[in-house]
């Protein structure tokens, strides 16, 4: 019934054309075919994309929400979510209007004032030249032939690329959340690096104009053509609040022959308060295909936020001599739950994968590492090295490790190491005796523990990530 009204109102708005912007800001809650048509319509999408969304939607109707992950949350009512919201205007006038607790965290993280304003959604005055920075940035990229734009822009300006690669790594049938995302994704990022081009700078969502409000169903597609190279940064260390509780993003990476994609994430969504109330559910599907020979995909993630994280960045190693890497630090404090890990699927010959996972649990945090390494018959002489370490702070938290290994070719070489340790009282006392406070001692030890992963992050990100760990662990001991 309500959807009928939207469809009508959209149809009415439509006659003014899209340039004048739709007055309808947000759809009322609910999901049916009409909503998807309206969404696609409002974005001016081509027919094939609407068809694809609808196929996903119908497939989704017959899917069940997965329950195998070691996370617990009340059932989500998918009809209570609004599936379209126009990009929001900045609403606050000054930092005085921002929650002091958030400001406090910004200051602890050493985020410059102007950036604080931008992050908190305060209208930024002309002094802060984010736009001019972004413009120079765009010029440089344009000269190199790199396409870096919002997903919606890409659909309009580069439909052939989008159509060729969308869903080619994560098909619309993939899993409950990815399928839902395929049906209703709002926006996201698109990157194409042409043949032989080394992207002249790190690409960061931060610099993408309009990146602020991509909504809860984000879609990212990165294609690195033959011999190209790109490093992509997602997220930021500043705590992100969002009124949407459920986030189900999909990220697809395609690396053709000799191409390399380095994808780094710092995820710090609102984790909920100390009693475990509120907080974002982050159900993400991230997958990369090393499609060409000698291609390489490397995932590095630092996960400190969200109430619940469900995330397994994976690599499909199709090309011969291709390389997949996964470096992860995940931290759960208070009532946070994380079920995360990776999948490495070896198909090509001489393929190589490395998994380094560092889990930190504090408070009542619960954390699960779930990793799958599959060596298929065709993957002659493949190698995997996995190392999964967990560290526990206090005795109310938990760490669980589920490595699945499936080897179908006897030439494979597999190495797996796993450790679980406590931050010992002995270690803390030793630090205390040297004048170092318990809080500083914990961050010293935790940063030491995470070093192998942090060194994979781009420089500035690594420094921020260290600070982030400190802030996230505040009050974890003592």
């Amino acid at each position: 019934m309500e959807n009928e009204i939207i469809k009508k109102s959209i149809a009415e708005e439509y006659k003014y054309g899209f340039e004048t912007k739709v007055a309808q800001d947000t759809f009322p809650p609910g999901l049916d075919e009409g909503v998807i048509r309206a969404l696609s319509d409002i974005k001016g999408e081509p027919e094939w994309l609407l068809e694809w969304r609808l196929k996903a939607y119908h497939h989704w109707l017959n899917m069940k929400e997965p329950t195998w992950a070691k996370v617990h949350y009340p059932p989500i009512d998918y009809q209570s979510i609004s599936y379209y919201s126009a990009p929001k205007k900045k609403t606050l006038n000054s930092l005085d209007e921002v929650d002091p607790e958030i400001l406090d965290t910004y200051n602890k993280l050493g985020i410059p004032l102007d950036e604080q304003k931008m992050l908190a959604g305060v209208a930024v005055d002309a002094v802060f030249d984010s736009v001019s920075v972004a413009t120079t940035f765009k010029d440089t990229l344009k000269k190199a032939g790199v396409i870096f734009c919002s997903f919606s822009e890409a659909v309009k300006d580069h439909p052939e690329l989008v159509q060729k690669y969308l869903g080619s790594v994560v098909p619309y049938t993939d899993n409950f959340y990815a399928t839902l995302n395929s049906a209703v994704f709002s926006d996201g990022s698109f990157v194409y690096i042409p043949k032989g081009v080394r992207c002249p700078m790190e690409l960061s969502t931060y610099f993408r104009i309009n990146a602020a409000n991509t909504g809860q169903f984000e879609r990212t597609l990165i294609v690195a053509d033959e011999g190209s190279h790109v490093s992509y940064l997602e997220g930021c260390t500043a705590p992100m609040r969002d009124e949407n509780q459920l986030h189900a993003a999909v990220v697809e990476l395609v690396a053709l022959g000799n191409a390399e994609i380095k994808y780094s994430t710092v995820q710090n969504w609102y984790p909920g308060d100390k009693e475990g109330k509120g907080g974002i559910y982050n159900f993400v599907t991230k997958r990369g295909a090393c499609r060409g020979d000698k291609s390489k995909i490397s995932w590095t993630q630092v996960e400190t936020g969200s109430a619940i994280t469900w995330k397994y960045p994976s690599c499909i190693l199709q090309g011969n001599d291709s390389v997949g890497e996964f470096y992860s630090v995940a931290l759960t404090n208070n009532f946070q739950q994380a079920d995360t890990g990776t999948k490495m699927i070896h198909l090509g010959k001489n393929t190589k994968s490395t998994i380094i996972s560092k889990g930190i649990s504090a408070g009542k945090g619960q954390q699960t590492y779930r990793g799958e390494v599959k060596i298929m018959k065709s993957a002659e002489n493949s190698r995997n090295f996995s190392q999964c370490d967990s560290i526990l702070i206090g005795d109310e938290c938990g760490a669980h490790t589920f490595p699945y290994i499936d080897v179908r070719n006897s030439t494979a070489q597999m190495e797996h190491e796993a450790t679980t340790s406590n931050i010992g009282e002995d270690q803390l006392f030793y630090c205390n005796q040297r004048g170092i406070s318990t809080e500083d001692a914990v961050s010293l030890i935790v940063n030491g523990f995470c070093k192998e992963v942090f060194k994979e992050l781009p420089m500035e990100f690594a420094v921020e990530a260290q600070k982030l760990m400190e802030v996230s662990l505040e009050g974890a001991v003592g």
């Binding site: 010992g424 009282e425 002995d426 270690q427 006392f429 030793y430 630090c431 205390n432 005796q433 040297r434 004048g435 170092i436 406070s437 318990t438 500083d440 010293l444 030890i445 940063n447 030491g448 523990f449 070093k451």
Partner: protein, 252 residues
């Protein structure tokens, strides 16, 4: 400087120390000897503020301030240092980074500026020479994979870098080879001054040959039952502890 009065200490309901009295004045070097398990490390740990021990009775003051209700880090910052009998490893944490964090924590508590990496490295290089440790040690994780003797020398490196007023050395001489023993003793001797005091816990008179202790005490049955000078240490080396035990029962 340090005054221990009628100190009683329990661990897990078990009474280990049963009335310790000890006065340490500036510049003095006190030696505590005693059989295994008599509570020497317990005393050292209680002084440093380890919280698994309870103190049902007694008092400790350090520079005229009550020590018992201070946190371990406050005690450290006020100039108390413990060289551990078994220094723990902290994998992943760079030794230099650790030492710098310690130096700066202590400097900060004194209202001094933090030291930058360059000044710090220059200082540590000098100190490394004094304990004859190779520079590679400060770039390794704290005590991780260090040999027994290397750990002890690392403790002394920390002592001379942090410059405490009172140093408690818990069997820092155990497990050292002959040359290392000399190096450690030399390190302590060089560090001695009229303001700095030491409590040295040891099983052997050997290290005392390199330094001049002011007092030697014997810990037995939870008390310091006998005090003397270097002579006493020599006597213990020769005869062991049973004669003291006999003296005690005779006195009862």
């Amino acid at each position: 400087m340090l005054s221990i009065q009628n100190l009683h200490v329990q661990v897990e309901e078990k009474e280990i120390l049963k009335g310790i009295n000890l006065e340490v004045k500036p510049g003095e070097l006190h030696v505590i000897m005693g059989r295994n398990g008599t509570g020497k490390s317990t005393l050292a740990n209680v002084l440093a503020g380890r919280d698994k021990y309870t103190v049902p009775q007694g008092n400790i003051t350090f520079n005229n301030e009550s020590l018992l209700d201070k946190t371990p880090e406050d005690r450290a910052c006020s100039g108390l240092f413990l060289s551990f009998q078994y220094p723990v490893a902290i994998p992943g944490v760079n030794n230099m980074y650790f030492l710098k964090a310690a130096v700066n924590a202590i400097r900060k508590s004194r209202g001094q500026d933090e030291m930058d990496a360059i000044d710090f490295l220059a200082m540590v290089r000098e100190k490394l020479k004094e304990v004859a440790l190779d520079e590679s040690f400060i770039h390794r994780p704290v005590n991780d994979g260090f040999s027994g003797g290397e750990k002890k020398r690392n403790e002394i490196l920390q002592m001379i870098t942090l410059e405490p007023q009172l140093s408690i050395l818990d069997e820092t001489d155990s497990g050292l080879d002959i040359d290392a023993l000399k190096i450690v003793a030399q390190g302590v001797n060089d560090y001695r001054s009229p303001e700095r005091s030491f409590i040295l816990i040891t099983h052997y008179q050997r290290i005392l040959n390199y330094m001049q202790p002011d007092f030697v005490h014997v810990l037995m049955n939870g008390k310091l039952v006998k005090s003397g000078t270097m002579e006493l240490a020599n006597e213990l080396e020769e005869k062991g502890y049973s004669w003291i035990e006999k003296e005690l029962t005779a006195a009862d």
